[in-house]
């Protein structure tokens, strides 16, 4: 073993977060807190005001004084592409307008007032075209805005009978597999069909998007509010045709992301850098709230059509689901979101036969993108609400029905992935049910008192950690640990702390691996010049995947120190001697996907994720029978997190994620008209306040993941977003009998659904 100073491990304890003191004193520097650089200009974006058009040209009002305004158009972009999965999104629109907030012209000026006037002095000549604004319109394909049929991506997952015919008839797999699943459904004692839909959701991080960019002899620099510095790096490399070492992307302290700062900041950085290049000055680009809500990515709306077959005793047999997502104007991350969506469509349940189809379509709305849960909340909503409907049909309690069909060790998911090790979901369900009194209170029925009714409902779900399928193998995430003077370690990784506590957790993992006290470890600011590409800070992979590299690297450095350490000598002295001799002592390691992960990307078969985390939510609500206002009185949640490296922060992730699910379920709703958002403000995009949030009973269940760091951590960042909405809908149904299949459950929608019943109800 490595011989550091012996001490108590910090993993599993609630050490004070390493950035805590800075954050509670106002000392933490978010991008707009950074002092202006000499000569700095403000940047602004001129956007299209129509949803779909041919862009004929850009005119600058000749009566306006443009002498001190920098103007950038598509012609100024060396290669007009935002690097991501498909090369369809331009940095600035050149010929076509695909959504109402599409960037067309960039302006920079030292004077903010003049800048605002300049934005109005840019005139866009456009020929408007009829826009495609909804999933239905896109599928109808009367107007084709993408490819030949508006479809951005398709997937098919098959299991059991459909899978057998699929191999037999690869050229006709769509029809053959559908016929096969329909046969299986027909053979079932009880068949239930339903449709379930979900709406856009805005991340609404409290710090808007922002970036500062400048050029110097070393190349281009961009510092800002970002989740994935290397995404920005790659986008710069492509658009500017730069050598990688001439691009320096740095994360400033970031005020929340939730996916919203995964791919979008590439655009902000490119814009700021274009202006900086043309003006020869640093450019600061900070979005206002309205611009941020209008132009940046949101959660994909989805429409799911479900049919299931089961025995009369509730044993589930066959699942057929078609998931259609609205990708928005450009492909961005939609294929991956759709993929995660369909991979979670079977829920935490055992299905003998399954056919799950995913389709993403293009619309003339801003591209939808990453948002915590990444497709899973949409399909978990569908499967959970559908099982509630099955339970209704069978006259069973939905919680009992779900519990009786949960996956156990050795069972396989719709992709054929076998559950390895202990399946923690059972303990999650037991603890959430017991602590909430779920079964007893369901038996008692709704508690009606005066004009208020209380009900309780549950959702049970799983969430895969890390990139899907072979993603991690292709990604080759890296992280490094350096030995520094005085027996200190420095962790270098491209994973960012956007509030979830990456810095603290990495320090904990490295300290324990090297057997050093926590304060001997520091974590370097993610700057692409100094840190390796760890892969993006997404997909619940930071602790589970990157954390495991950090752990190994720290152990390796400690071992090298141990090898030269003499009896009685301290780690610091030995380390300094080693450093003096070698110059640098570093361990740079790459992630190794566990050998057992086998994935067929063509057939979507195999181990979609190395491991799943599990969760059971129980929500208690009170519904006002007059106004249909829903109050979440209390929320129980039990999650199998593998191993909680920092229990308090882990609970904080679960609670924060669940509150986002509650907001999505009850109040958050973008109002659209002709491709425009009518409520792009905090006063009318309604997220929960402290008075809307329930008290949480959060329970951590720990069934370690064999390959997880810190003794078995799984990825949990996104999971809590998945089930909250369904738990609330079940509770609302329990309280009122109103069975809602479409989100959100605003009072207006509950009222409309209740229809005549509402009026006679007293």
């Amino acid at each position: 073993m490595h011989t550091g100073e012996s001490l108590r491990p910090s993993v599993g304890t609630n050490v004070v977060r390493v950035d805590g003191a800075q954050k509670v004193t106002g000392g933490a520097r978010y991008v707009d807190d950074l002092p202006p650089r000499p000569g700095e200009l403000h940047g602004a974006t001129v956007r299209s005001r129509v949803a779909r058009a041919v862009l004929r040209g850009v005119r600058l009002d000749p009566t306006f004084d443009w002498s001190d305004v920098t103007v950038v158009t598509a012609a100024d972009v060396p290669e007009n592409v935002v690097q991501l999965i498909v090369d369809d999104q331009p940095v600035l629109a050149a010929e076509r307008i695909h959504h109402r907030y599409e960037p067309v012209v960039l302006l920079a000026c030292a004077d903010r007032d003049k800048l605002a006037r300049a934005v109005e002095a840019v005139l866009l000549d456009v020929d408007e075209l009829p826009p495609v604004l909804t999933i239905e319109e896109a599928l109808r394909a009367r107007d084709v805005i993408s490819g030949t049929d508006n479809v951005q991506k398709r997937y098919l997952i098959t299991k059991g009978a459909p899978d057998i015919v699929r191999d037999a008839a690869p050229s006709d797999e769509a029809r053959a597999t559908e016929e096969a699943i329909l046969r299986e459904l027909e053979a079932c004692e009880v068949v239930v069909r339903g449709e379930y839909s979900t709406h856009h959701q805005e991340q609404l991080y409290i710090e808007p998007q922002g970036m500062i960019a400048w050029w110097d002899d070393a190349g281009v620099h961009a510092t800002g509010s970002i989740q994935c510095p290397y995404y920005v790096h790659k986008a710069m490399k492509r658009a500017f045709h730069l050598e990688p070492e001439r691009i320096h992307v740095t994360q400033a302290v970031t005020g929340g992301g939730f996916g919203g700062k995964e791919e979008y900041p590439s655009l902000v950085a490119l814009h700021a850098a274009l202006l900086a290049k043309k003006s020869g000055r640093p450019v600061r680009m900070i979005y206002g709230r309205t611009e941020d809500i209008e132009a940046t990515t949101k959660r994909h709306p989805a429409h799911c059509t479900v049919a299931t077959g089961c025995d009369r005793d509730g044993t589930l047999r066959a699942l057929m689901m078609r998931v259609v997502m609205d990708g928005g104007a450009y492909v961005t991350l939609t294929p991956v979101v759709l993929s995660r969506g369909i991979l979670h469509a079977g829920g935490a349940y055992r299905w003998e036969h399954a056919r799950i189809e995913g389709v993403a379509v293009a619309t003339n709305t801003p591209p939808n993108g990453a948002f915590r849960g990444f497709g899973a909340p949409q399909t978990v909503w569908a499967i959970e609400r559908h099982l509630d409907a099955v339970a209704r049909e069978l006259g069973m309690d939905p919680g009992v029905l779900k519990r009786q069909n949960l996956l156990v060790t050795g069972d396989t998911t719709p992709t054929g992935q076998a559950m390895r090790g202990e399946v923690g979901i059972h303990e999650c369900v037991r603890r959430a049910f017991e602590s909430s009194g779920y079964l007893e209170r369901r038996r008692l029925g709704a508690a009606v008192s005066g004009r208020k009714a209380r009900g309780i409902g549950c959702a049970i779900f799983l969430h895969g950690g890390g990139f899907t399928g072979s993603g991690e193998r292709l990604l080759k995430g890296k992280a490094a640990v350096d030995l520094a003077p005085g027996g200190r370690l420095v962790v270098r990784s491209g994973s960012t702390d956007i509030g979830q506590g990456t810095e603290t957790v990495f320090a904990q993992l490295a300290a324990d691996a090297a057997k050093l006290p926590l304060d001997r470890v520091s974590v370097a600011t993610p700057c692409t010049t100094y840190v390796p590409d760890s892969g993006p800070t997404v997909a619940s992979r930071t602790v589970m995947v990157v954390g495991s590299i950090v752990e190994r690297a720290a152990a390796e450095v400690a071992a090298r120190v141990a090898a030269v350490r003499q009896p009685g000598e301290s780690f610091a002295t030995a380390g300094d001697r080693l450093l003096a001799r070698e110059g640098t002592v570093t361990s740079l390691l790459q992630y190794e996907s566990p050998a057992f992960v086998k994935w067929d990307d063509v057939r979507y078969r195999g181990d979609a994720y190395p491991v799943f985390a599990f969760m059971c939510d129980v929500a208690e609500v009170e519904v006002d029978l007059d106004t249909f206002e829903v109050t979440v009185l209390r929320f129980w949640q039990a999650a199998d997190v593998g191993r909680a490296v920092h229990p308090l922060m882990c609970e904080g992730q679960l609670e924060g994620g669940t509150l986002q699910a509650i907001g999505w379920a009850l109040s958050e709703e973008l109002v659209w008209k002709d491709g425009a958002i009518l409520n792009p403000r905090m006063t009318n995009y309604i997220v929960p306040t402290a008075l809307d949030a329930p008290p949480f009973d959060t329970m951590l269940v720990e069934h370690p993941y064999s390959e997880g760091p810190g003794g078995g951590a799984k990825g949990i960042g996104e999971m809590p977003m998945d089930g909250g909405a369904a738990a609330i809908a079940a509770a609302v149904e329990h309280a009122t009998g109103l069975a809602m299949n479409h989100l959100p459950l605003t009072p207006e929608r509950l009222f409309a659904h209740a229809g005549a019943r509402a009026v006679e109800a007293r």
């Binding site: 605002a116 006037r117 309205t290 306040t689």
Partner: protein, 295 residues
């Protein structure tokens, strides 16, 4: 994005009410515009969120510390609420809590603590939004608005003050100095219910304020104010006529619903729907009648 407008506004601070009246009057006379700045919770937010403006901007006059506007006084019959008193000050004032408990209660539903700390009734009345909670709650007391100008003091019933969507009968050179309330005796029943977009930082989808006096089971006095169901705060005259002089226990609910429907004209907007608002308006009035019947 037009916070950029803010630095361009001319600004002055008023030392006294008299000075303010003269200043505003003179500017009016010469055709120049003036905006009074009290808590700024309407004005500053409005300017920051509106499109940028070209051309001359009005003079902004800070009235947030004018002593003449801040006082809250009870003379044994009339409660005089200074137009510049903040919601926070109203909530903490013993005379308000005792004589106009509905007002004290309403303040806790305004925005959040920081808005309550700055916002004033004068601003709420002057902005004249149909969603104004302060106006809906005050309306239940059938108060009088006190206006000052170089011509002296003018009193106008609040029922006559709000004349249309965001319109009032205030002359351009008049300043709201106070709202006078002649409350029913302490202990009289009152009712407040706000149905908003969320539990705090919420704009009313519907809100109802009511103040009553009863003689036995007979309703002898009833003041009503309802927010967000028409172009101005609704005073629900037909509903009131149906209820006054009767017993809340004998009300025909179908008639009551019909009266409410006839009294209001709710519309669809980004916050809610007309149909929902109508339904909730009826339900809130029924709730009021139930609570009066259960006294």
């Amino acid at each position: 994005m037009s916070v950029v407008d803010l630095p361009r506004y001319p600004f002055a601070r008023a030392g006294s009410l008299g000075e303010l009246c003269s200043l505003v009057h003179e500017r009016c006379a010469s055709g120049e515009r003036t905006v009074l700045l009290a808590g700024g919770t309407d004005f500053m937010a409005e300017v920051s969120q509106s499109p940028r403006r070209d051309g001359p901007l009005p003079l902004v006059v800070d009235i947030s510390r004018l002593p003449e506007l801040g006082a809250i006084e009870w003379d044994g019959r009339t409660l005089r609420l200074g137009a510049g008193a903040t919601y926070r000050e109203l909530a903490e004032h013993h005379a308000v809590r005792e004589h106009a408990p509905l007002i004290a209660r309403m303040t806790s539903d305004i925005g959040g603590p920081t808005i309550q700390a700055r916002g004033t009734l004068g601003g709420n009345l002057a902005t004249a939004s149909p969603a104004a909670d302060g106006v809906a709650a005050l309306a239940a007391y059938e108060p009088t608005v006190v206006l000052a100008s170089v011509r002296g003091e003018r009193k106008v019933r609040m029922a006559d003050f709000h004349t249309g969507y965001k319109r009032t009968s205030r002359a351009d050179d008049e300043i709201i100095t106070a709202i006078e309330v002649a409350p029913p005796p302490p202990g009289s029943p009152w009712h407040w219910r706000k149905v908003g977009t969320r539990q705090a930082q919420a704009i009313a989808k519907v809100a109802l304020g009511a103040v009553a006096a009863l003689d036995g089971t007979r309703i002898t006095r009833l003041g009503l104010g309802m927010a967000s169901v028409g172009p101005t705060t609704a005073l629900l005259p037909k509903t009131r006529a149906l209820l006054v002089d009767g017993s809340p226990r004998d009300v025909d609910l179908a008639q009551l619903d019909a009266a409410v429907a006839a009294d209001i004209s709710p519309i669809d907007d980004i916050r809610s729907t007309g149909a929902y608002r109508l339904h909730v308006a009826k339900a809130l009035v029924r709730e009021l009648v139930r609570s009066l019947a259960n006294l």
